[in-house]
Symmetry: C2
């Protein structure tokens, strides 16, 4: 069930059949289904387990005492919400779905077992968490230094490339699971301003967006106006040197 996770990790290292099988198992334990815009776990709650987004879209957010809300991460299928949270006593942020979603609950022991048995998976998890941090940093750069127009463009570029990395895009288009209000909460602007900014990007022919589907008539142009570079996503098979040997016989697809 965690085919997206496997696909993502293999953007870093080639896994062995055993490793793939073990990862499959992880994503097929307790899988819970959620409707759109439901809280998965709230700030202050004890983090009972690690979560893996199997399908659909979700986000992490923080709410200030006076109600201001900031979305600080987006999850696409294959994303792990904090592989190691279980060392903490309580969540310092909330996780909510955006669309309907299926989320696998992975116990502490499963995570530890996996990393103890498969050093290559451990290494791939490290890579994944470094990329997660890099995404957070780039988010800060957006909110801190990019104009509203650049921010929207940048978030859309990132969303596309991340979905493509797990095989969820069509040519030049992808899902955009956020409402304009949520997009605004992610980018540190207001709903009204997000709306006007979207209109401008549409008018400029850089994007087209209807019913949660985002189309890029000229991705390169959008990336240029966003000052977007894929470097921070480290999708270039950087763990190649540690690839599992490829099998000569083709394994049967499950």
């Amino acid at each position: 069930m965690s085919e997206h996770l496997i696909r993502k990790l293999e953007r870093f290292v080639q896994l062995s059949d055993d490793e793939r099988t073990a990862l499959q198992a992880v994503g097929s334990g307790r899988v819970r289904s959620f409707g759109p815009r439901e809280d998965v776990i709230q700030e202050g709650a004890p983090p009972s387990c690690t979560r893996l987004l199997v399908s659909g879209y979700a986000c992490r957010y923080r709410t200030l005492p006076d109600g201001r809300r900031q979305i600080v991460s987006l999850f696409v299928p294959g994303d792990f919400c904090d592989p190691h949270v279980f060392v903490l006593q309580e969540m310092d942020h909330s996780i909510a779905t955006l669309s309907g979603a299926r989320i696998a609950e992975v116990s502490k022991d499963e995570v530890i077992g996996l990393t103890e048995r498969f050093p290559r998976i451990t290494r791939a998890f490290w890579w994944d968490s470094l990329v997660t941090e890099a995404i957070l940093r780039e988010w800060i750069v957006s909110v801190g230094r990019r104009s509203a127009r650049e921010r929207v463009a940048h978030q859309f570029c990132a969303l596309y490339v991340r979905q493509r990395a797990v095989g969820l895009t069509d040519e030049g288009e992808c899902d955009m699971p956020l409402t304009q209000a949520e997009l605004a909460e992610a980018l540190g602007i207001t709903t009204v301003h997000a709306n006007r900014t979207l209109q401008r990007l549409r008018a400029e022919g850089l994007i087209s967006l209807k019913s949660n589907r985002l189309v890029f008539p000229d991705f390169e142009a959008l990336a240029r106006t966003a000052l977007f570079s894929t470097a921070y996503l480290h999708l270039g098979r950087e763990g190649e040197a540690f690839d599992a040997p490829r099998r000569l016989t083709v394994p049967v697809e499950v």
Copy 2:
């Protein structure tokens, strides 16, 4: 030499003497000295090793192609710059000193050896990296949703609490190693605006700041205006259940 690191990790779990000794060793290998405002490693370079800030202050930053710069992390003594970077081929951000600083270079093998021999240290490193991520998220919240005044206040509160956690504060005062221009680059505002905001906080009696020394006449009041909470720093001995047994004889201080 890594007494600050040890002190920080012990905000999470009590370590054994062996573990403390092993950590001491890590911080006493190749230690390099830097002047203020020097690059330690630049974006694009291969990350040869992990770095531990032994003394002084440093930061992480990203520069956009047109020169806009955003500081995305501050390091205080005892902070690790990316325990696992070595899985990546190239840095996606730069690291620079703010003040003069001493930085220990820790090889991949040392990190791996340490975590293989001492599960408690592994757990403490997980905690540390979760806190590092939480700091990034809170940074996004600041830049995305807090006013300039709240941002400055929040950064100062965080700086104080982080320095206190490693034993570097005096009562109600701490170092503030950033120039106003750097503070602005960290908070996503301009130098001019940072200056006016500082003046306002001073006038309101919330801070006093001269020659890199920050004094808090009323920390609680500042924390309130910043909407600052220490929860995300997880300093409450959350790993207590895994403490090493305390020795009955007092070990000799080194």
